[in-house]
Symmetry: C2
Subunit: 233 residues, 2 copies
DNA sequence: AAATTCAATATGTAGCTACATAATAATGTC
DNA sequence: GACATTATTATGTAGCTACATATTGAATTT
């Protein structure tokens, strides 16, 4: 047991956090040097340092060499979100997962897709439209573009049984990710596929990945009405 | 310069990440022990440990004592989002920030609000409706409930000039946060305030905070059509 | 054979030292 | 006084040691 023997860095972190919360150190204030805090709390500087690193990562404080540590004057809310593979998401809710391929083709990228990747000119990419089902009801409709140059193997994959979502996530790691959320009115074809009234509001998750500077894939995942994204922890 | 003298933990992290990306270590695989990796890469175990911690936090690997380190079999996309104070957000886009108080009252919490906080029965809370403007155009409409028990001072604050958003963020730290995003159709009063056509889809950010077990505030922030949230870094 | 105990092992944590690095303050020069 | 140089200082990083802790698997007992 580590009853009162030594302070762990998480305890130190929590203590400093508590002081920030109760305004012992107010927004904009300068915190004591790591070494002084270490002495006051009865631990090593390394321990305070580790605690500070965590607080810095959480966006609570800002550190600068020689400048010292300051409580962020302008606090931002920082939250983490997990986006699992769709199949997993459905199954974790205890529902039956289903999948339907709608379309599979090779097309020239329209300007909107070029913009997502930052491409200077149109190229041919594979386009896959598919519907993910939860208990046989529409769940997420995805419209995906895949760069054939970095993923030639995708041309051989049977996408009627396995979703491109899953294949890519298991076989094509990425080094850069852009995620964005926005709302749109489901109309026309989208409303039809999602089996939802025309113009109903739906949340859209847009996900674009690269490996190095090479585009891999970009998806527009249109969720069904009522879908919520919530932060972890 | 640290040309080839010693490996930094970030270099080690990137090396291991690269190996995961190029399938040297595939999803589900067991990675070598920290100590072996350290020896192979020519650094101390501490350095490998720090690198691994980071990869674990990023959700790329899973570590267990004695069990060793494994590449996550079921990769999730983990992304971080920053939600700044609305005023800051507007100003950072180079626009002029404006603010209008719409309503301020003390009401009994309806079931939806009780549910957000997990309250067993209705209590009186302060309710504030306000509109944030960007270049004199509607930007975000917020409908906020504030627990007067944990925030009695709010009753004295002049909310016609300062937004509750800002006052709370500067004076009322939280220890627990729930953030969620969803889409809705702007109708009636909301559409009117946002000056947008009826039923247009808007992104909603719902943010609920507690200090310890005590509720602080919950907001439903309705953005204007076209608003996007994007991940950091 | 099942259950319990115990040793082995990989990661987790804390402390120490030593040095690197960036930013500021102090100093010196023209 | 303006500018360049140097010293100081707080954080950042790496290495080492020592021990804690969880978990697995083997050994032992019932």
């Amino acid at each position: 047991m580590t009853i009162d023997s030594r302070l762990s860095w998480t305890q130190v972190r929590d203590e400093i956090r508590a002081r920030i919360l109760n305004r012992t150190y107010a927004p904009g204030d300068k915190l004591p040097r790591d070494e002084d805090l270490a002495q006051e709390l009865g631990c090593a500087r390394t321990t305070v340092h580790r605690a500070m690193q965590d607080l810095s990562l959480a966006g609570l404080v800002e550190r600068k060499r020689k400048g010292g540590t300051h409580v962020k004057a302008d606090p931002v809310t920082r939250a983490t979100f997990d986006i699992p593979i769709t199949r997993r998401e459905v199954e974790q809710r205890g529902s039956k997962y289903g999948y339907q391929l709608i379309q599979r083709s090779v097309e020239l990228t329209p300007p909107a897709i070029m913009a997502r990747f930052g491409l200077p000119k149109a190229i041919k990419m594979m386009r896959v439209k598919a519907l993910h089902l939860s208990d046989n009801r529409p769940f997420i409709l995805e419209d995906r573009w895949i760069d054939i140059r970095s993923n030639p193997e995708i041309l051989e994959v049977d996408l009627t049984t396995q979703s491109a979502n899953e294949w890519l996530v298991l076989h094509k790691p990425y080094s850069r990710l852009d995620l964005r959320f926005y709302a749109m009115n489901a109309t026309g074809e989208i409303a039809k596929h999602l089996d939802t009234p025309d113009t109903s509001a739906v949340l859209v998750i847009e996900r674009t990945t690269w490996i190095g500077a090479e585009p891999i894939t970009t998806v527009q995942a249109v969720t069904t009405p009522g879908y919520q994204l919530s932060s972890v922890r």
